[in-house]
């Protein structure tokens, strides 16, 4: 397959994906480490490489409000944010999914204040896991670009009509450079049809949207929203398959298993740290240790079937969380653990909380996690939640 590779950052790869998806309206507000994306997009509009309206809104709250407004008249929209900005959007995120407006946004994962930190972790998006958006986490710049294009096709699908957030790790992905293949516009146009939705205001068929509900009918709306999220699972699979056939890159749907076939212990993680884990898996495999990686791509909808399937085959599962739900455990762990609890088998489980505020997760850290999982199985230990870089367990 013909390729057209250029050396760009993750932020720039997102901008390329947006350009190729031809949104009608872009509304965004700058925030580190997302800023380069919105700068590149404004340059593309200026250079005539894109036709869309670029709105310089005065806040993230207005960014999400404006994209909802444009989506409500049938326009394809894009916004981008990070951290404090994403939290400032929170009201709009719930509003957008409830309104069934398939806005696509990029979130540059960044820690949330206080204390201030511009560096990466997953506390911003994971604290908004329940806002009704499809959440995908990518591992590199190519996946970021490809997932923006896929996101429109998934979010705008008639059985889904749910907004989608493409998450990439702040700095580790947003600001590092990679060779990224830029698909041809013609091929993207063939892959991604124009946005059509019945859920819009029009002069042919005027509508009142964003209405109030009564206790008698609210549950029906929320049920439909939940069903739409479940519908996304099949759509994600179909879109990924169609994307692979068209562009030659496949992302393995909801999760990607790496060397899990005969694995005894497995680490589960989101995003860029998966790249480091792959290297450690290869090293330990070369030493004869049966380790593997489960890269969770989608946190919503959650890959319950895939986690259960893996849990049936392994002895131990460790979950790396670049977040902490204070007073409990990591959010990814809570979700994974819930799926594991639904199978009738003992699996040793451990939650490794770390990488907060941009702290590096090293190959040595990961090797140690695998070793702790092996000894946990051997000792038939109780589950553990630990802040691994502090070497303390919270459930001692």
């Amino acid at each position: 397959m013909k390729t057209n590779k250029i050396f760009i950052s993750g932020d720039e790869a997102v901008a390329q994906g947006v350009r190729l998806s031809r949104p009608h309206v872009i509304a965004a507000y700058p925030i580190t480490p997302q800023t380069i994306t919105v700068e590149r997009l404004s340059e593309m509009v200026e250079a005539g490489e894109m036709d869309g309206e670029y709105m310089h809104v005065e806040s993230e709250h207005s960014a999400i409000s404006a994209t909802m407004g444009a989506s409500a008249v049938g326009a394809r929209t894009f916004t981008a944010s990070s951290s404090q900005g994403l939290l400032y959007m929170a009201e709009g995120l719930h509003y957008c999914s409830g309104g069934r407006w398939p806005v696509v946004m990029m979130n540059a994962n960044r820690s949330v204040a206080l204390p201030w930190s511009i560096y990466g972790d997953h506390r911003d998006s994971l604290s908004l896991l329940d806002c009704g958006w499809i959440q995908v986490y990518v591992e590199d710049a190519q996946e970021a670009l490809d997932m923006i294009i896929q996101a429109y096709k998934i979010a705008e699908h008639k059985d889904v009509l749910t907004p989608m957030m493409v998450n990439l790790d702040g700095f580790i992905l947003t600001h590092t450079y990679e060779l990224v293949d830029i698909p041809e516009q013609k091929m993207v146009d063939e892959f991604l049809p124009a946005f059509e939705t019945p859920n819009k205001m029009s002069f042919e068929e005027p509508k009142n949207l964003g209405f109030s509900s009564k206790p008698d009918d609210n549950t029906e709306f929320k049920y439909q929203q939940n069903e739409a999220m479940f519908n996304a699972i099949d759509v994600i699979r179909d879109v990924d398959q169609e994307f692979a056939e068209k562009f030659g890159r496949k992302y393995h749907d909801m999760v990607e298993e790496y060397r899990c076939e005969d694995a005894e212990v497995v680490l589960v993680a989101l995003g860029s740290v998966c790249g480091t884990i792959r290297v450690v898996v290869d090293k330990m495999r070369a030493e004869g240790k049966k380790v593997g990686l489960l890269k969770i791509r989608y946190m919503r909808p959650f890959p319950e079937a895939e986690v259960k399937d893996l849990a049936r085959r392994v002895n131990a599962i460790g979950v790396i969380d670049k977040d902490i739900s204070f007073g409990y455990e990591g959010t990814v762990y809570t979700n994974v653990n819930s799926a594991i609890s639904k199978i009738d088998k003992y699996v040793y489980k451990s939650n490794f909380v770390g990488g907060l505020g941009g702290r590096d997760i090293t190959k040595a850290d990961i090797e140690e996690m695998f070793n702790k999982l092996f000894s946990g199985v051997e000792n038939k230990s109780e589950e553990k939640v630990e802040f691994f870089s502090l070497n303390v367990e919270t459930n001692d």
Binding site: E58, S62, A66, G69, N208, L209, F211, K214
Partner: protein, 302 residues
């Protein structure tokens, strides 16, 4: 500048018989609903309407009974101006012509929580007419003080007693704050002077870009006035000088009414339950503030 000389006039005789806002559940005598109904008759069918959470959205969009005959959407409370901006941008990007996007937001939704988005909308000169219907408190949630609640008003968050005369601050100068953005067109109006209001909506309809109208709209429920006097009391407010009719256009202020004599403020205040507790001294504070404001407006705007 838009040539406004040839705009066809809209009045009670030639106004459309069609109703675009009806069957809603507003209180009897609701001034806000009059402001919405009249404006939509001027703006017509090719209108997108955005309303924040507030009285007009609460009474108009109760699924499955929708009270807007034209396209309309409830926005988040702080996000009406920005959602309207997005509607206008979307309509433009989709190549739609002869479209107007209008916001109807109350005083709290405009001068308080929605102000940042409104300021951004005007700064970008987005093609939106923003109409603030001002009933001088958060009425939908049960009469709480907003930034446009006038001095002395008793609300449920500014109770009047021995120590405090209700609201202790004056209304924000919203019209001038909007004008300070160098907006192409801004106006004040009152549902007590409907023809003046219709003319201003009509003018704003024909101006491309951001425009703003601040319309005084009575609320019998929140004001403690009889439901049949809503238009009268909104006229009284203008006649006693507490509300003024003005325009800001091409960088210039214009006073539309400059009466030689004002009707008595105290008569206006005494008609309303919300001011019932006010002493003569309290009312003098209101009058002094009015006179100071008019003296400045006459000096600077005439």
């Amino acid at each position: 500048m838009t040539n406004l000389v040839d705009i066809p006039k809209v009045n009670a005789k030639n106004m459309t018989e069609k109703e675009f806002f009806y069957g809603h559940k507003a209180c009897a005598g609701c001034g806000g609903s009059v402001a919405v109904r009249l404006a939509l008759k001027v703006l017509g069918e090719r209108t997108y309407t955005a309303l924040p959470a507030g009285c007009m959205s609460a009474v108009g969009f109760i699924y499955p009974q929708m009270a807007f005959n034209t396209n309309a959407v409830i926005t988040t409370f702080p996000g009406s101006a920005s959602m309207a901006s997005g509607i206008a941008a979307g309509a433009k990007a989709l190549g739609q012509k002869d479209v107007k996007t209008v916001v109807f937001a109350g005083d709290g939704g405009t001068a308080d929580i929605g102000f940042q988005a409104l300021s951004g909308m005007i700064d970008r000169n987005d093609d939106v007419l923003y109409i603030c219907y001002d009933n001088e408190a958060y009425m939908n949630t049960g009469i709480q003080k907003s930034g446009l609640t006038p001095y002395g008003t008793k609300t449920t968050t500014t109770p009047a007693g021995k120590n405090i005369p209700g609201t202790v601050t004056h209304k924000k100068n919203l019209f001038e704050i909007i004008a300070a953005h160098d907006i192409a067109y801004a106006a004040t109006a009152s549902i007590g002077y409907p023809q003046d209001y219709l003319n201003k909506v009509n003018k704003a309809k024909h101006i491309k870009g951001a425009t703003f109208i601040h319309v005084y709209a009575s609320c019998p429920t929140g004001w403690g006035t009889p439901t049949e006097t809503s238009i009268e009391i909104a006229k009284d407010a203008v006649d006693c000088g507490l509300i003024f009719l003005a325009e800001f256009e091409d960088g210039e202020y214009k006073l539309n009414r400059n009466p030689k004599e004002f009707a008595p403020v105290k008569d206006y205040l005494k008609k309303q339950g919300r001011f019932k507790h006010m002493t003569d001294e309290d009312m003098d504070v209101v009058i002094e503030n009015r006179d100071r404001k008019w003296s400045r407006m006459r000096k600077q705007w005439l």
